[in-house]
Structures are given as structure tokens and as C-alpha cells.
Amino acid sequence: MILTDEGKEKLKNAYVKSGGKEFTVYCRMQKIYSFTATEPPVDNKFVISGVFKIDNYLAYYNMLNDACIEK
């Protein structure tokens, strides 16, 4: 995803502060996946790895796309 500068800062700070704590990504109320932040972003690229169901991915894809269009 492409974040605003403020968003990048938020995520960067969250990464730094988290110390490996778990984060959860939601689309609406559906938990899409969780990941653990252990590394800071490199070259402004936030690399998030995790495992999730393809069903959730489709929901993620559509909802995030819709939300961005609505903005």
C-alpha cells in the first residue's frame, strides 16, 4: 500500500516501538492477518510477511480498493 508521509511515520514509529509485538490487519471487522514487526522499513519499503487465507485476501483486495476509490 502507498501511505501518506504521516502514515509512513506512524508505521515506522510503531515498528520501532513494537519491539517485535504483534500487529493485526483488519478489513472492516475481518481480521486479515497478523504480523510481527521485527525490522524497520528499508528504503521506505515496508515489508510485511504473514500467512492468510485466499478468501481473506480477496476481501482485503476489494475493500481496500473500494476505500481508496471512495476517498
Partner: protein
């Protein structure tokens, strides 16, 4: 859709426009229009009083009389006991109650149900209502077993329960709200129609209608709270499971969740997930009560908890105010403390360069 587990990497660098929608969302079937509901006398062929009713007399005999409301449809006539002698804390822990049959002609279902009425019942007074939904083990038509696991409700908390109208329907199958079998709908929709019918027959406080259920009934409690949030003043799902996707509908409803942490039948994580989702959506009125080391019988503790009934009976929709916190947008990243780190306001656009572990674009 076939479930595929995918390992992925998301790299936030690309901006793609005009992304196609991959599939349509499903929506829940909210049943709202209720037409005529009739009680049918299957004991007598009376054409006027279309009701059956009996009193479960344990220690006191009661008599019944036909009470008609001439101002309404005669099909809504109900046999009401002249005097409901209610004593709590019986040997079986269950007080006198009315047994009845509900024929939901709208949805094509027949439900047996037990009805508890305060012994000081007066049409000039408004009473809180508890709708109780039993678990899978009590599925049937005997119109008795649905009371099996709520004895603590009556024996431990008579001061509260005796002041309420308690409705205990029994379903002959799994409680379902979202099922349309062609000639009929799921029985959970009929439970709501029964509630509405009881509201017509008795003097109920529409601002104090409470919902609780255990196990399968806990699932049904979540279903009804999510689809009829405007009806219920509070909900108590016990060892159930819900749909996290609908959590936004629950942010303004006072909810107490009870679940045993050692539940081998319905995982405790089911309730934890619902709690997390409601909190993530901005809900401030939800509470989770993990029962440490307790198995599936969380109801033994929940319905014995006097503080729960104290809390429940203090909930009043007329006095509640909507949560000042608006549900957050459709996308967010939440930290382990439930704080929103990234919301949709922080996203410029979607990057769909999602690749699998072999770096192949999906």
C-alpha cells in the same frame, strides 16, 4: 471458494489504478417484516380462542382463563393464568411457568416455548424481558429441556429474574437466521417473531429487552445482536461464537461475554476474537469474562453471577447514548494494545504487488 493458504509479501511501492473487484461481498439476510402470527389450539377445535397453554405446576395448582384483547386480532388471544403463583428456588430450581406452542405462519416454523411471568404481573406496569436461547444439546420439541442449563438463573438470582418476563423457546434444529429452506426460514427468525408476539400480549418494556444464550444459543445471541441491534438493550453470549465481520454493528450494545478458557467444544478464542473485533471497531461497552479453567459449561457460572444480572437490568435503551467513537474505516493496522496504527486516512492508494514466496506476482 477453495481455501488456499498463501504466504505473501506486501511491498508498499507501487500505485495501480483501476483495480477490478474480484468478487462480490455477501450480505446477511436481515428479517424485519413480520406478518400475522397465530396461536393454534391443538387441544380443542375452538375457533375463537386459538391458543394452547398449560401451567407447569410444581407445587401450586393454578387455573387458567381466556383473556382476549378485543381491540386486536382474535388470533392473538392468549390463555393467561388467573394467578401465576411463582416460587423460586424449587427443588429443580425452576419456577412455575407457562408452556406453549408458537406457530409462526410467516416463517413456517413451530416452536415450543416456556414463558415466565412475574407473579405481580400487571398490565399497568412495564416489565423487562429476557429472551433465552438454549444450546445444541437441548434441541427438540419436549418443551422442557431448554431449561436444563438455566436453573442458576432462577435459583441464584431470583430477585432479578422474578421481575422479568422470561421467554425460553426451543428449536427442533440448529438456530439459524440466515437460512431460507424455501417453504420456511430458519427458526431463529421465528424466535424473534415470538418475542414480538409476546410483546403484543404482555406489558413489556421495549427499552429493556435482554438477550442471552449458551453454546449454540451463544452463536444465536451474536446473530441476533448483530441483526437486531435496535431491539436489544444488552446481550450476554455464553460460550458461543460470532462473525467478526459484523462487529461494527455491536459497538453501541452493552455486551458481557462469558467463556471458559478450557472449553473443549467451542474454543475460548471464539469469544476473544469477537471481543477484539468489537473493541477494534470502537466499541466501549463490551466486556469479556474469561472463566479460568472452566470447560464448556460456562453457563453454570454466568447465570449464577449476580453482578451480571445487576448489570443487565441496569441497561436501558432509552438512557443509552451512542458511542462517541465512530467505527474506523474499512482498513486498519492495529497494534497489540488495540490501538489503530494505520487507518484508511493514512493510505494513498493500494499496492497490489503482492507476491508469493517465489516472487511471482499473484
Amino acid at each position: 471458494m477453495k481455501k488456499v493458504i498463501v504466504a505473501f509479501l506486501i511491498i508498499s511501492v507501487l500505485c495501480l489504478n483501476g483495480c477490478k473487484k474480484l468478487s462480490s461481498d455477501t450480505s446477511s439476510d436481515i428479517l424485519s417484516n413480520i406478518s400475522s402470527i397465530e396461536y393454534v389450539d391443538n387441544l380443542n377445535d375452538s375457533s375463537d380462542a386459538s391458543i394452547i397453554s398449560s401451567i407447569n405446576s410444581t407445587t401450586n395448582s393454578t387455573t387458567s382463563s381466556v383473556v382476549s384483547d378485543n381491540s386486536s386480532d382474535t388470533q392473538n388471544t392468549i390463555i393467561r393464568p388467573e394467578k401465576v403463583k411463582t416460587i423460586y428456588g424449587f427443588k429443580e430450581g425452576i419456577s412455575d411457568h407457562i408452556k406453549n406452542t408458537f406457530y409462526d405462519t410467516k416463517n413456517g416454523n413451530t416452536l415450543q416455548y416456556c414463558l415466565f411471568i412475574p407473579d405481580d404481573y400487571s398490565a399497568n406496569k412495564k416489565y423487562p424481558v429476557i429472551l433465552f436461547l438454549h444450546g445444541a444439546g437441548e434441541i427438540g420439541t419436549d418443551n422442557a429441556s431448554q431449561l436444563t442449563n438455566i436453573k442458576n438463573m432462577f435459583s441464584k438470582n431470583p430477585d432479578y429474574v422474578s421481575q422479568a418476563i422470561v421467554i425460553c423457546p426451543q428449536t427442533p434444529e440448529w438456530w439459524r437466521l440466515d437460512r431460507d429452506y424455501g417453504d420456511r426460514k430458519g427458526t431463529l427468525s421465528s424466535a424473534m417473531n415470538l418475542l414480538e408476539e409476546i410483546q403484543k400480549q404482555y406489558s413489556c418494556d421495549e427499552n429493556r429487552i435482554y438477550l442471552t444464550g449458551l453454546s449454540m444459543g451463544g452463536y444465536a445471541t451474536w446473530e441476533l445482536l448483530q441483526n437486531y441491534s435496535h431491539i436489544f438493550a444488552a446481550g450476554v453470549p455464553v460460550c458461543g461464537f460470532g462473525n467478526e465481520m459484523n462487529a461494527a454493528a455491536l459497538v453501541d450494545i452493552p455486551i458481557r461475554i462469558y467463556h471458559g478458557t478450557a472449553d473443549p467444544t467451542v474454543s475460548f478464542s471464539s469469544s476473544q476474537s469477537m471481543y477484539d473485533a468489537i473493541v477494534a471497531a470502537g466499541g466501549k461497552k463490551v466486556e469479556l469474562f474469561p472463566l479460568e479453567g472452566v470447560g464448556h459449561d460456562a453457563w453454570s457460572y454466568a447465570y449464577a453471577d449476580t453482578t451480571m444480572f445487576e448489570w443487565m437490568f441496569s441497561q436501558d435503551k432509552s438512557k443509552s447514548t451512542p458511542s462517541p467513537i465512530k467505527p474506523v474505516g474499512p482498513f486498519r493496522i492495529v497494534d497489540s494494545n488495540g490501538n489503530n496504527v494505520i487507518t484508511i486516512d493514512d493510505v494513498i492508494d493500494v499496492d497490489y504487488s503482492i507476491v508469493n514466496l517465489e516472487n511471482r506476482v499473484m
